[in-house]
Symmetry: C2
Subunit: 190 residues, 2 copies
Amino acid sequence: MGTRDRILDAAEQAIHEFGIAGATTKRIAQQAACSEALLYKHFGNKEEIVLAVLLERSPALGPALAKLRRSVGQGDPAANLVEFTGKALEFYTRAAAVAGGVLGDPPLMAGFRAMLAKADLGPHLPIQALAEILRAEQQAGRVEAGLDADAAASLLMGACFHRANLTHFVDLPDDDATWSATIVRTLLRR
Amino acid sequence: MGTRDRILDAAEQAIHEFGIAGATTKRIAQQAACSEALLYKHFGNKEEIVLAVLLERSPALGPALAKLRRSVGQGDPAANLVEFTGKALEFYTRAAAVAGGVLGDPPLMAGFRAMLAKADLGPHLPIQALAEILRAEQQAGRVEAGLDADAAASLLMGACFHRANLTHFVDLPDDDATWSATIVRTLLRR
């Protein structure tokens, strides 16, 4: 395993254990068995490490979106969306603590926000990707033509993101599978 | 101003400036011009201070829900919901950094979760309150009877919570008022 991967493993572990604020570059380097100088050869700053953990170490939302896109015109559109909803819940549940930690750390957040803007990245992009897929299903006549695809995508991704956060704070009474099916049925009126 | 209020002011300011992890009880006590011993006479631990900041210092979601409840059967139900959506966005935007900071701090989070469970509190309760209001509007014949009120409440609160978080990370292209109106119209199909 290369140094970069060792650093990301160590960072992921340190964030999980100590939170973003407690996952210092010193601690990450120590855990990765490398010097801080070597760590800084691979990553310009802590923000970059955190972004790499979010992009490379989360169960991927990108593949789930790609699968949903490939399913346009195939199978039952509601069932496809329910499957995607489950994946989105998993992704956000795992990403929540890292994203929350960034948000709760004003100095880190400022750097992170600037980095996202420069790289044209951001947590709003999955909503746009989902809206595109819903529009494709509308063109295929499989989703109600009058539905506002952008608003529907905001509602669905938002519900997943919120629920993922809630599960960290409280035990929810209903199970994810039942919830996902009801959410999609309510959104699509099916 | 009493000591308790001074401590909460100081805590709010310290969290805003240094994040949850950086807002130590030492720093809060210093800023409130009281001893740490006196701080601990008012609050058992840092979790309790954070909960009090969230419950007492956020622009209130409770009053917005109460107002929406009072409006059942009166005016246009969609317009009432759009107004509530704006308030929910404000609330979550302000609460996001504190909630994120708790979520991103595993030791603090464990204590916070236990405290919520004991007090029977939690960030899922506004969804239940909104669902009750939607059911009341359904009984009054003002919202589509077939709509699943719980799912609709999850979708609306989730979209607000998500958008509030997104605004911390990126500049969103659309304005809040337009977004709120479209979200409610899409959810209610009006």
